[in-house]
Amino acid sequence: MRHRKTGRKLGRTAAHRRALKRNLAEAIFRHERVKTTLAKAKEIRPYVEKLITLSRRDTVHARRMFARDIQDRKLIQRVFSEIGPRYQNRPGGYTRVLKLGTRHGDGAEMAIIELVERSPVIEAERST
């Protein structure tokens, strides 16, 4: 029985799932907007939100907790200096999931997961 068991397996082993979550979280921090399947977007959301909450308080401890999941030092710096401060006054809900409809090939429901207040710099890069 799967009573009260939460979380999706996404057809992967535990290690593969963990790697996927980390990779997707990294992509979201880098690009601020990522297109994936709806299932992955929903699965990743609470994980990314917890990481952002960590990044709101810039202490050595918070950075180390964050670095357990994301090792890229430059990225950690960027998240703590740009993304964390942006959400000082937002009590969670830093991300938004937009449904896009189904994908050709396997009919998977696609979605965009994006940060709620995106950096104008990254937005400009996208449009060029």
């Binding site: 937009l98 449904k99 896009l100 409809g101 965009i112």
Partner: protein, 60 residues
Amino acid sequence: MAVPKRRTSKSRRDKRRTHWVLNAPATNPCPKCAKPRLPHRVCPHCGYYKDNQVLEVKES
């Protein structure tokens, strides 16, 4: 072993299949471009969702 006594007639077989129907998905007109769009999805025609929130540029 349990086994059918009679072959299913064409009539009976076809009557059983009267409930095999597909329904078109429910769509709503897009508030921006008025083309049919699935509810709670970004409009595939104009790329808008809610308050003129433009997403994904249309190609071709």
